[in-house]
């Protein structure tokens, strides 16, 4: 197992190298002037463009720019972000906890609810439960995230004033800012920090702001898992060993949940692992609409304003998440299915 993990970690370096080359190549397709223009906002400033190109070596060959960039990031310098008005690494450290917090709540729901719904739908094929689950899943998958988020916001915030956008209420934000000794920000995630500080007002306020984003995220992302789990269950239920178990008189609950479900989980786990990465990436629209200053919001702004340091750094971070998620899936495979040997 240890050798396998070590091999995969080495492989991770290769993947990240590939991601960085790919992203760098895409960004290099923009002219030096266009990249320098990220610093220019008015015609009056246009005279700065040639200086910026020269200063940052934007007109140098691809490989020189890439090597320079690698040298810089190896020293922890990911460049300066104009959309965050701070060094890129600081911006990511500041924005990432918000995204993690959102996914910390949405992912367990997506995975447990998705597996459960898929299982129930598979077991009760072509019944009312199955049809309902499928329809809800299809609607969730088909709805554009931003539209669904806006609808929720219009109903539950605009109409009923229950669940506001953003991360935290103003008075809580003031309390945290004014009392750094009474409220320590251990993680940058308000629910967890609230619990660690024993301040339940902060916890409830943060949860209130999380309700709609989590509902949106779950509704949109869960559909894939439900469909995969349902198909997988249907396949398992029709296999010979299930028929044998039935012939032996094993009760239906045991057959479905102890035998079929365990085997049906394998493809679902593959998807679930992928969903972890997808969900983090998919926080973009949710964070944008609910104005949650997370990695997704940062990425939208960076991409639209060609803030190259941020685009590169977040791409690498997402690549890293994908690779780690896949590694975890591979390890989980071995745990769930003893037939699979990692070596």
């Amino acid at each position: 197992m240890a050798a396998f993990i070590a091999r995969r970690l080495m492989f991770m370096v290769v993947v990240l190298f590939g991601v960085s080359i790919l992203m760098f190549s895409i960004l290099m397709s923009f002219s030096p002037e266009r990249r320098a223009a990220a610093f220019v906002r008015t015609p009056q400033q246009v005279k700065e463009i040639p200086n910026l190109v020269k200063k940052y070596g934007l007109d140098k060959p691809f490989y020189i720019q890439y090597v320079n960039w690698i040298k810089q990031i190896s020293q922890g310098n990911f460049g300066y972000s104009t959309v965050a008005a701070s060094p890129t690494l600081d911006a990511i450290k500041k924005y990432f906890p918000t995204t993690i917090e959102l996914n910390l709540f949405s992912l367990p729901i997506i995975i447990t609810l998705g597996i459960w719904l898929g299982t129930v739908a598979g077991i009760h094929r072509d019944t009312f439960i199955d049809h309902t689950t499928r329809i809800v899943a299809i609607i969730g998958w088909s709805l554009p995230t931003f539209l669904f988020a806006l609808i929720l916001l219009m109903i539950f915030y605009s109409q009923f004033q229950l669940f506001p956008p953003e991360i935290i209420s103003n008075h809580i934000d003031d309390f945290i800012s004014n009392n750094p000794d009474k409220f320590i920000q251990y993680t940058g995630m308000y629910v967890i920090d609230g619990l660690l500080n024993g301040n339940f007002e902060v916890v409830f306020d943060a949860l209130k702001h999380l309700v709609l984003p989590v509902v949106t995220q779950v509704t949109v992302v869960i559909a894939i898992l439900v469909r995969v789990m349902r198909s997988s269950m249907l396949e398992e239920i029709s296999k010979d060993y299930i028929i044998t178990a039935k012939a032996k008189g094993v009760d239906t609950h045991t057959i479905n949940h102890k035998h079929a479900k365990k085997n049906a989980l394998l493809p679902a786990i593959t998807v679930a692992g992928w969903l972890v990465a997808l969900s983090i990436e998919g926080s973009v629209a949710v964070e944008f609409i609910f104005n949650r200053a997370g990695l997704g919001l940062l990425l939208v702004k960076a991409a639209t304003q060609l803030d190259i340091p941020v685009v590169l750094a977040i791409s690498i971070l997402l690549g890293l998440i994908y690779v780690v998620a896949n590694l975890i899936i591979d390890v989980l495979y071995a745990v769930i299915d003893p037939r699979i040997r990692l070596n």
């Binding site: 610093f39 200086n51 500041k94």
Partner: protein, 576 residues
């Protein structure tokens, strides 16, 4: 029992979550903006988001009087200098400002004339890349930059050092030549007054001119005052999470009337729907409105809406000497029906035809939702010395008439092919270019005009390379003086006029006279003539002067819409 506990805990949690939010704090203004605040260093901040915050934290010597762009009120100066009160020398080259006493910085230090002198020198010496300091360097040193080709211009720091001095309770500016718009420039945050000791302690220029070069042109984000402030104005910076929010708090030792609202919370909310919902729910009290959303806001009751002209103009420009080398926008490069020659737009008939092909009224009504007007020339409404001059109106018969005359009548027979350009994401510019293309192409099957969008950076670079035959651009005021508009559009070295190859020696001469003349009557005559020259030469055509729009909560009063400031700007200390 366990189930009961679980049920009660869940019920309590749900109850806590669904308790509606409390009423908005009436002592706080929440302002929603779209763009990131870039820097709090006055030598760097040149974007609207940053400048607006600096206006509320720092004081300048003078400021615009409420909604006026040609009247001033004293801030750190105690009176507006004039020739009559001796504040401006007769030759217009010396300005003396009496400095207010009893002014305290946010850190408790007293403001002195030495602080004022240091601030101007420090900001000009710093001259951060992409910053606003050219605005002060040009009138005070005669040179618009401290660097050329990345190297420091010899002697520039000595010129800066000699340009301003403290004399008793006054500060004196020495200009190398008269520069009448300087009072308008001094309202900008490039002239924010710093506390000298505090600035030096925080890594700014040390006060020794021999060391100036070490403090010049810091990298973006490395400017010493990027994240910290210490001004004298009504609000002080309490918290700034770059890219997220900024909190300003009332400064109770302000030299003037204290601000009515204790706290200003500025949030970046890029999505319009979210911003609007928060505004209507009372969670946001102040926001800029884009033209396309103004109509929907007009239907809302209990809010205050403002629309006011902005000192800016969108123009279509025609390059009279196009760079032809490997130029994809000129077809064959000849007047053979498959392209255009370098001097295609040098023929005034062609320029007039293109100008008559734009339906200006439709643009204002359909694209700008009525939030705009058609300016006769680049000296737009709100600037002094503005006058109405000839401006073409949409008329296809005129288009045909002028195209038949163009290039000695050859153009109508041979036809032509070219590309008009605009930068991406600007609807008015796209529509104007498309109108010219479609209307002209409809007259003769031999006329082929493509329209292409370019990214902003590439667009500006291509303009500088004289490669774009026709393009649509805009200019916003740095200061409210006609010079800031006639120079880029009519001077042979102006930003747009230079790159379209426009060169009228008489215009150059008048522009020079205009900026070096202090007499109002003389200037009026000069700028009237320049507007006539624009109408006669048609180097380009003005399309729209947009209106700025802003919404404030119903309970907030005191907003003064000023054409110099877009909807992004709010002087929070004026509100009550």
């Amino acid at each position: 029992m366990k189930k009961l506990h679980f049920f009660l805990a869940s019920a309590f949690l749900c109850l806590m979550l669904v308790v509606p939010a409390g009423a908005a704090d009436k002592d706080t203004i929440v302002s929603a903006i779209i763009s990131t605040i870039q820097s709090m260093d006055p030598a760097k901040a040149y974007d609207d988001s940053s400048a607006n915050k600096l206006y509320n934290i720092y004081d300048t010597l003078v400021a615009f009087k409420k909604t006026k762009t040609d009247e001033f009120e004293p801030r750190i100066a105690t009176e507006i200098p004039t020739v009559a009160n001796g504040g401006i020398s007769k030759d217009g080259m010396t300005y003396t400002f009496k400095i207010r006493k009893g002014v305290k910085f946010h850190n408790g230090a007293d403001l002195t004339p030495q602080d004022v002198v240091y601030s101007f020198k420090r900001n000009m010496i710093t001259d951060a890349e992409g910053g606003p300091m050219a605005l002060l360097l040009e009138p005070l040193t005669g040179i618009g930059n401290t660097r050329k080709d990345g190297k420091i211009i010899p002697g520039i720091f000595e010129k800066i050092d000699n340009s301003i001095e403290a004399k008793g309770d006054t500060v004196v500016f020495h200009l190398p030549k008269p520069f009448p718009p300087i009072l308008g420039i001094l309202t900008y945050t490039a002239g924010a007054i710093l506390d000298k000791d505090w600035a030096i302690a925080n890594g700014c220029w040390d006060g020794n001119i021999a060391n100036a070069a070490k403090f010049n042109g810091p990298d973006t984000g490395k400017e010493p005052l990027h994240h910290i402030t210490n001004g004298t104005n009504a609000y002080q910076l309490k918290k700034w999470e770059a890219g997220k929010e900024m909190i300003l708090e009332r400064f109770d030792d302000h030299w003037g009337k204290n601000a009515a609202f204790k706290t200003v919370r500025i949030k970046i909310i890029p999505e319009w729907s979210t911003r609007k919902m928060m505004f209507l729910n009372g969670d946001v009290n102040d926001m800029e409105i884009d033209a396309q959303y103004f109509a929907e806001m007009e239907k809302t009751k209990g809010i205050k809406l403002y629309k006011y002209p902005q000192l800016g103009v969108v123009c279509a420009m025609f390059t009279q000497k196009i760079e032809m080398t490997a130029n994809p926008y000129v077809g064959s490069g000849k007047l053979d029906g498959k392209g255009i020659p370098s001097n295609f737009f040098a023929d005034k008939n062609v320029r007039l035809a293109f100008a008559y092909a734009i339906d200006y009224k439709a643009i204002i009504k359909e694209v700008a939702n009525g939030l705009g007007s058609i300016p006769a020339n680049p000296i737009v409404d709100g600037l002094p010395y503005q006058k109405d001059t000839f401006h073409p109106q949409f008329d296809l018969a005129k288009v045909e008439e002028y195209l038949k005359k163009a290039h000695g009548g050859k153009l109508w027979k041979t036809g032509f092919k070219l590309t008009l350009l605009h930068n991406t994401g600007r609807e008015i510019r796209r529509v104007a270019a498309t109108m010219m293309a479609e209307n002209i192409s409809s007259l003769n099957p031999k006329f082929n005009i493509d329209v292409q969008a370019m990214d902003w950076g590439e667009y500006l670079t291509a303009i500088q390379q004289h490669r774009l035959p026709g393009f649509v651009v805009a200019w916003g005021a740095d200061y409210p003086d006609p010079h800031n508009f006639v120079y880029p559009y009519l001077h042979s070295e102006g930003f747009y006029s230079k790159y379209i190859g426009y060169n009228n020696p008489e215009a150059d001469k008048l522009i020079k006279m205009g900026i070096e003349t202090a007499s109002i009557d003389e200037r009026r005559k000069i700028y009237y003539k320049l507007q006539d020259i624009w109408a006669e030469d048609i180097p380009g055509v003005t399309i729209i002067q947009k209106l700025g729009a802003k919404a404030l909560s119903g309970h907030i009063n005191g907003f003064n819409p000023n054409p110099m400031y877009q909807g992004t700007y709010t002087f929070y200390y004026q509100l009550y």
